[in-house]
């Protein structure tokens, strides 16, 4: 999937994540999280699983995580990418 525009998904409420997806030359993930030290690698791997599933290889994904569980992270990243790819 080609990322054509900037799009967002999610909120900054507790247990949620706010995700921004935008066009970029490579795949870059910028993560801010209240549990960064404990779960950075796990969150990044969830993001990678979504980009792989959607075939996204070029995008900048900025995540402000407010303690979201894995399935919420995946859902918000998927929504932001699909919106940015014009699929929604």
């Amino acid at each position: 999937m080609e990322i054509k525009k900037t799009a967002t998904a999610g909120t900054l409420e507790s247990s949620d994540a706010y995700v921004v997806a935008e066009p970029f030359d490579t795949l870059e993930v910028d993560l801010t999280s209240v549990v960064y030290e404990q779960f950075k690698d796990e969150i990044i791997s969830q993001v990678k699983a979504v980009t792989d599933a959607l075939g996204v290889s070029k995008a900048k994904i900025t995540i402000n995580d407010r303690g979201a569980v894995d399935c919420v992270i995946r859902a918000r990243v998927e929504t932001a990418l699909k919106r940015a790819g014009g699929e929604m």
Binding site: S15, D16, V69, C71, A75, E78
Partner: protein
């Protein structure tokens, strides 16, 4: 057994991730009124992602989809049917054709996803005057219809009357829906009591619904769940009596008696049926509802 059906907004991770610990027998994950039009896509992806992760929690899952006259309902179904919710709740159902439309698309998706046909049921939400008048036809519209739910707020708007705590304005609708559902052999659930802080009003409303024949009651507040569960549960006295009835029947069979009495009252078929229902509820009360 469903005594309570708790509405949970479909785009709120904080509530979604805890739906199975709120005490309700069923939860209705809401993709309709609780989600703004701009967030419909986000909510259905979130609900699908949560359901795929959570697996079987012992709490029945129902998903309320958007009305069939919107652009959203098919996408709602495409995302959530693959998670095999117990039932789909179509909204503002006015007649059997809406049920058939939703049932046909669920059938298509079950086939596409390799899910056994008939896995996903339907619980139509009746919330218009037309829906109330067509309740019997709706209840019997398709074999997927397992229950119906009354939506009192939209109904009273459609009836052009004020919604009151006493509920006189929906008495006819309640009675008609119970009769229609029972005639078709399905369950029927009452509208939520919307004042979250009025526990006395809630209890009166739930007791009225139970007295009319409703199987249980929906709720928009986790704080209402315990009271509704209590009111729609059989009492220990009712459970004891039900066991006594069944024991007496078994003893009569062993002795070859055709007619038996308990506590001076003849035990006939309706009493036996009621006793069986109470024992079924007693057994289900400790395990939630999975179909």
């Amino acid at each position: 057994m469903r005594r309570t059906m708790l509405f949970v907004p479909g785009n709120s991770p904080n509530l979604l991730m805890n739906f199975d610990i709120l005490g309700a027998d069923s939860v209705i994950l809401d993709l309709e009124d609780a989600v703004s039009p701009a967030e419909k896509d986000s909510a259905r992806i979130l609900v699908r992602s949560m359901l795929q992760t959570m697996g079987d929690t012992g709490c029945e899952v129902i998903v309320r989809i958007n009305p069939v006259d919107t652009d959203f309902w098919k996408e709602d179904l495409r995302e959530v049917v693959k998670c095999c919710p117990s039932m789909i709740m179509p909204t503002k159902v006015g007649g059997p054709e809406t049920v058939k439309q939703v049932a046909d698309y669920i059938g298509q998706l079950e086939k596409e996803y390799g899910i056994p046909e008939g896995t996903v049921g339907i619980i139509p939400l009746i919330e218009t005057a037309l829906g109330v008048e067509n309740a019997f036809a709706i209840a019997g519209a398709d074999k997927r219809v397992r229950a119906m739910l009354l939506g009192g707020e939209d109904l009273t708007a459609d009836l052009r009357c004020k919604r009151t705590k006493e509920g006189n304005e929906i008495f006819y609708a309640r009675s008609r829906m119970v009769c229609a559902a029972r005639a078709c052999g399905i369950d029927v659930y009452d509208t939520p009591f919307t004042d979250v802080n009025d526990m006395e009003g809630l209890r009166k409303d739930a007791e009225l619904a139970k007295s009319l024949g409703f199987s249980g009651k929906s709720s928009i507040s986790p704080g209402h769940v315990a009271a509704i569960n209590e009111i729609f549960s059989p009492t220990q006295e009712e459970i004891d009596y039900a066991h006594e009835v069944m024991d007496t029947i078994e003893e009569a069979k062993r002795q070859g008696k055709g007619v038996v009495a308990l506590r001076g009252k003849m035990i006939d078929a309706p009493i036996v049926n009621r006793a069986k229902q109470v024992i079924e509820m007693e057994e289900a009360m400790f395990g939630g509802v999975r179909q």
